[in-house]
Amino acid sequence: MRLAFRIALRFLTSSKGQTALIAVGIAVGISVQIFIGSLIEGLQISLLDATIGSASHITVNPSEKNTPIDDSGDIETWLSTNYSEIKALSPTLSKGAFLKIDDVTEQIIFRGFDSEKANTIYKFDEAMIEGSFNLTGNEVVVGKDLALENDLKVGDDYDIITPEGSVSTVRIVGYFDLKVAAINKSWMIGTIDEARTIFGYEDHQITALEMQIETPFDADLLSKLMISDSVRNDISFDNWKAQNEQLLSGLNGQSTSSLMIQVFVVISVVLGIASVLAITVLQKSRQLGILKAMGINDRTSSLVFLFQGFILGILGGILGIIFGLGLLLSFSKFALNADGTPVVPIFINYSFIGLSGLIAVTASTLASIIPALKSKKLSPIEVIKNG
């Protein structure tokens, strides 16, 4: 083993230019693989974050539409004590209503939240563009577009009319921008107690219980579990995956095509290394003949080439990781949105990069199997006879 390694190392260091060229060849392949993989992963993470980062993963709804959920506190306690996967839990009372602006009325969705709990899901405090998300009494905040289109003023009082016809007054204390036009156009947010007052609900009643969980992709499994665990039949559990099938199939397609590209890049790297190493067997056949005449066995002479592949894989892998990170870094520096944020936020997954390095080493070692077999077959007499 040591002898084979030493010979392999010497062969590689004695033709530095060729070694560098092969290593750079592997590195380019691996860096492209790292770049594509990280780019797609970053893309998916930012897409997912935009889609479900500030949304409910699993929502408890009433089984019958437009009816309240009673004894909401019990459900909250049951969920938080039984499911450690839940990282945010927020009760809400949401209903459609009309906002009276002078002589016209605008259709809105009034969402009553417990400010602190809702913040963990929607991050309202980060989304505020005017005023603060610190609501008491009849204070409300509205979506940016709702405010702009209707010229709503911070500090002014407005009337809200429920479908049942009751009228309440709220005071607008801020605007928010949740980056979703439909929300920005229609949401008005107040405290859950204010919502109960406006819509005439009792203290234990809500319309939905929203939650976020540790691993959003397990939402379907977890909601199934909740359904089977639940003793109440007046509530249902909906998860984001069931409502976003198109997005999911899009993400899957993207993952598959990214994987395909990576696989083909790796295959071309393997073929490249295999052909170059096959040529080096010819280059070194004289040396192999001499070594065999001196009594090196077939196993060691094969190992020489496996080690060459292995060493080249390590070199190429390290270089490839450096190139790949460089590519990612420059992409995140130079491909920018108008506001200066990167088009695709850079996402470095160390285990993915480690895996790429491992692929480089495995692929180039595998690629050296054919040259190694060739080396094994080489007979010293061919070299001695032919000079």
Binding site: L3, Q287, I290, M294, G295, D298
Partner: protein, 229 residues
């Protein structure tokens, strides 16, 4: 004295469709510690004979014994081991590893045998290199040495494992006459001092005459065989 090399009825035929017979029923016995010269015209089969003795090539039929062991039926790895431990080669074209220094080339057969080098072995390699007069170029890469230096490196290398037999195929073939003389003196000294058996192919009759025994090969057969002892 024992026969360290013994060939019985060795035939060698090259090719499968067009057959060319190179050796015809060759019988040969070489005594341990003797210095033998093989002469013959080119194409007479002398190199083939040497390669068969050296186990680099296999006879088409017949028996080959090296140090009492039959070699024509051994597998590749057994042969590699036998070559490493029993036989030293000196070729006309030196056949050093150009990627390694002269010193590393000399130690290579030992490294193949024992996987590691100790102090004692390094000292022996230095001694052998001094013996062949290479003290000054030990750390030169094999490719950066003159023909004579390369050949002397090859001689030192052939000795490192203390082989019973040294096979040399025109070891001075492309060296000038002065260097040729020095190399032969060296080989004879080694033969005397270490009791190593030599089988040397040469074109040079003057050199051949200094050996203990001259075997002339003609058309694949032993044509004459003179011994001086």
């Amino acid at each position: 004295m024992d026969n360290v090399i013994k060939l019985n009825n060795v035939n060698k035929i090259y090719g499968t469709t067009i057959k060319t017979q190179v050796l015809f029923d060759v019988d040969l016995a070489v005594q341990q510690g003797s210095f033998n010269g093989i002469i013959g015209a080119s194409g007479s089969g002398k190199s083939t004979l040497l390669n068969i003795v050296g186990t680099l090539d296999k006879p088409t039929s017949g028996e080959v014994f090296i140090g009492g062991q039959r070699t024509d039926q051994m597998n590749k790895n057994e042969l590699a081991r036998l070559r490493n431990e029993t036989i030293g080669f000196i070729f006309q074209f030196h056949y050093l590893l150009p990627e390694f220094t002269a010193f590393e080339n000399v130690l290579m057969p030992y490294y193949i045998k024992n996987k590691k080098i100790d102090r004692k072995m390094e000292a022996r390699a230095h001694e052998l290199m001094d013996l062949v007069g290479l003290s000054k170029v030990k750390n030169n890469l094999a490719g950066n040495m003159s023909g004579g230096q390369q050949q002397r490196t090859a001689i030192a290398r052939s000795l490192i494992n203390n082989p019973k037999i040294i096979l040399a195929d025109e070891p001075t073939g492309n060296l000038d006459s002065e260097t040729t003389e020095i190399i032969y003196e060296l080989l004879r000294d080694i033969n005397k001092d270490f009791g190593t058996t030599f089988v040397v192919i040469t074109h040079d009759r003057r050199i051949a005459e200094k050996t203990d025994r001259i075997i002339e090969i003609k058309d694949g057969k032993i044509y004459t065989d003179f011994a001086r002892f």
